[in-house]
Symmetry: C2
Subunit: 478 residues, 2 copies
């Protein structure tokens, strides 16, 4: 792959590397600047490994003041800055460049304050997603957004990409669960958005920051909503003879106003790979499988499962299997949670992230299959069906350049179709480098120019996370 152009790095900045590293070592503890090539190699890519660029240096500040000092210095010296959480971005969101430093937030990982009565937690932004839930688990609380990478990924990265996860159908994505943010601007100025209370006067800058892909500033702290865990939860499996029937069933469940915690979709290729890998005991004679999880008291669970079975019956499922024990529940989720790993075990894959209006789900699945057949590439579908967030995995051989570029074209075609039916390019993975040149499919020139003017307000010199999000052509930048 690597078909997407990156601008030429600035040689004058690269020539000043030693001086810059020396200066950075005065702004943070010297051992928090990674200077040697081996060390920098660890930061040359993220989970979109097709793209690799060696950064100028890596800085790992320990507090907001250090972040402020580093950004002010870089701003004065026109040095680009790429913010990085855990580097789990699937769209190249943390890809560095040769004339850019990487600013990693991994040392900003403390829990600052937990307030159970107000149901909030104040944390540093480099904390891992799962560590927030762990910190409040003993009191029966959790942090809702749960990306598949939650063991590794940071809240900072979740905020940058407005990350979701299987359980976001009920609880919302990152933007619905973050109440306040402390952010350092490229000038070094520190701004606070939101707070512990609901809402804030005037513009909702908080929602603007969430999902801004590290282009506006570096988030160092956040106040997040924590929720009491439900009394109990129970998943069921529904197997269908066609993907179309499964898709229509999802739309019917949501349309009827039943909101399960999660509705996950897997098609036959995904079922086979996941079941082989994890021995989850999935039915093997169906074309599509839904995992529908509901939660609440025992009576609520019974009530919801009954209603879902009633709705599903219109679509003639071949299999209806309600978990009867904690072990069965764990097995059902084990297959789904291992999906991406299992798939990576058998093939390289290119993971799409389109979003569509739910009523189009059945038709879009048919179209995805047609597009992949046309490109002679196998596809497996594993995704958050309840909120219309598709993750087709296009299987290909990364060592075959022709096949790789075919996979990329195939993916672009799928995303184009998502936009065409009223959906959009990305649900939770972000634009990054991967979808940058597709932005014109979704937005008019007027739209993009307006977005770029806002980028310029936060970062007038366009130094933060360069080369991402906006097509290089038509950029309004110095």
């Amino acid at each position: 792959m690597d078909a997407i152009a990156l601008p030429e790095p600035r040689e004058d900045i690269i020539a000043r590397r030693e001086e810059i590293v020396r200066k950075l070592k005065t702004l943070v503890a010297p051992d928090c600047v990674i200077d040697d090539e081996t060390g920098r190699r660890a930061y040359e890519t993220d989970a979109l490994t097709a793209y690799k660029r060696l950064p100028l240096a890596v800085v790992l500040p320990s507090n907001t003041q250090e972040v402020s000092r580093v950004l002010a210095y870089c701003n004065e010296n026109a040095i680009k800055v790429v913010a990085r959480g855990a580097g789990t971005s699937l769209c190249g969101g943390a890809l560095p460049q040769e004339d850019a430093i990487v600013l990693g937030v991994s040392k900003l990982n403390r829990v600052l304050h937990i307030d159970y009565q107000n149901r909030t937690a104040r944390v540093e932004a480099g904390i891992t997603n799962i560590a927030i839930s762990n910190a409040v688990a003993s009191a029966g609380f959790f942090y809702a957004p749960d990306p598949s990478s939650q063991i590794a990924c940071t809240l900072a990265g979740n905020i940058a990409m407005n990350s979701g996860g299987a359980h976001c159908l009920k609880y919302g994505v990152t933007t619905n669960n973050v109440l306040g943010i402390k952010m350092v601007l490229m000038t070094g100025e520190v701004i606070e958005f939101g707070g512990e209370a609901l809402d804030a006067p005037t513009y909702d800058l908080l929602a603007l920051i969430v999902g801004s892909e590290g282009q506006f500033g570096i988030v160092t702290e956040a106040t997040v909503r924590i929720l009491p865990a439900a009394e109990a939860a129970r998943p069921m499996l529904l197997g269908f003879e066609t993907s179309k029937a499964a898709g229509a069933c999802v739309a019917a469940i949501i349309g009827a106003g039943v909101i399960p915690v999660a509705i996950e979709f897997m098609d036959r290729p995904a079922i086979e790979v996941c079941d082989d890998f994890s021995k989850a005991g999935y039915p093997r004679d169906v074309e599509a499988l839904l995992i529908v999880e509901v939660e609440g008291s025992e009576s609520e669970i019974e009530n919801l499962l009954t209603r879902i079975q009633q709705i599903a019956s219109f679509f003639e499922p071949k299999v209806i299997r309600v978990s009867q024990s904690a072990e069965e529940s764990a097995a059902i989720w084990k297959g789904r949670k291992a999906a991406f790993g299992a798939m990576g075990h058998i093939s390289d894959y290119y993971c799409m992230d389109g979003v569509i209006p739910l009523r189009k789900l059945a038709d879009v699945l048919v179209e995805i299959s047609r597009i992949c057949t046309e490109h002679s590439l196998p596809v497996a579908n594993i995704f958050h069906a309840g909120d219309g967030n598709l993750h087709p995995l296009i299987l290909y051989n990364a060592n075959d350049a022709e096949e790789a570029s075919r996979a990329e074209a195939c993916g672009a075609e799928i995303l184009k179709h998502c936009v065409k039916v009223g959906g959009c390019l990305t649900g939770e993975h972000g634009v990054g480098i991967e979808k940058r040149d597709l932005m014109g499919l979704q937005f008019t020139k007027i739209d993009l120019e307006q977005q770029m003017r806002i980028k310029s307000v936060f970062d007038p010199n366009w130094l933060l996370n360069p080369a991402k999000v906006f097509p290089l052509d038509g950029r309004e930048m110095p």
Copy 2:
């Protein structure tokens, strides 16, 4: 009142009034330009009636193209524009000026498309809030945000102020229920944000627009979420011996993870006035009353009400009364819904809109009482307790200038305290003219400058809804 300064109107614009009116009549149908003084008087104020200014002219466009033509003309001619929905703003958000035209959206009131499977409705922005619910009621759906003014207020105004309502505790406020927007920029350019599907790539401009108080552009269409109505709902009354106990009970209910549809709070002065006016049958021997409504199936309702009574019992309520019939439920809500009207019947009042972290509720109620005693003014508290959104009504005599300015000082003191405990100046009413000069209490100079830079991106000449939101001192404008 009217203590808040407005800039001098531009005499050169006022001198061109006739020419401007003539031109406007070529841009929209001539009978959609209100030119005569009597007609313009109807638009000189909104629900914050202490402030009045006669607008230059009033324009009522019939479609997006007309809005676009009017804005482009005004932009070229440096004519200020104040957008107006139904004029129900409690913070002077639609107050015009002598050198500004009012652009009313009341003719943009059509339902364009309803999609039950996707649970969305596309409407023109001038539609009233209640009309959206009415349009989908026969299919068992509704539009969730329900400001007290919902019979009159428009979706456009709800979007401008990010309006809430009693039932937003469960369903969220406007920003959580709007999926897409069509907006005309001051240049006349038309932009779309969001759409039918969840999320959109890159910046969440949709959330930035919601709550921007008519400062960024004129919203002409929106796609909103519609929700299936619950099977049933049931309110209960809880009466307490002190406001502090009632406040602590609210925090305990929310802290325990029980989310009723609504938790409304009334203190003794409010109970008496509302009960006298509406004959709701409220208990008269308590200091504070909570109306807690839950919804769902019968078993869910029973379950939730039992848990709420368990939690409430720690705070020793004097009265626990669960509605036993549709009539009793209606009576309970009748008193609350008539509250502001009932209060207006006996006195002028100044309605605050502070938001606080829920755990501070009990203490803040004590402090509000202290502040009002210090200012020798009676106060009644009627508000959305579940989300920490306070509405203290300060009672005063509007014909007594000294008392009026005392009420204003008292309100400022209350808002100052809300900010001090970690809350904010406004929950759902907006900043408008009323809280403009208090913004410095909540935001630093850096914060305000950053917000104003964003305002400048959308409206570089600062023509939209002038003199609102930002203190006049320190504005970055031409």
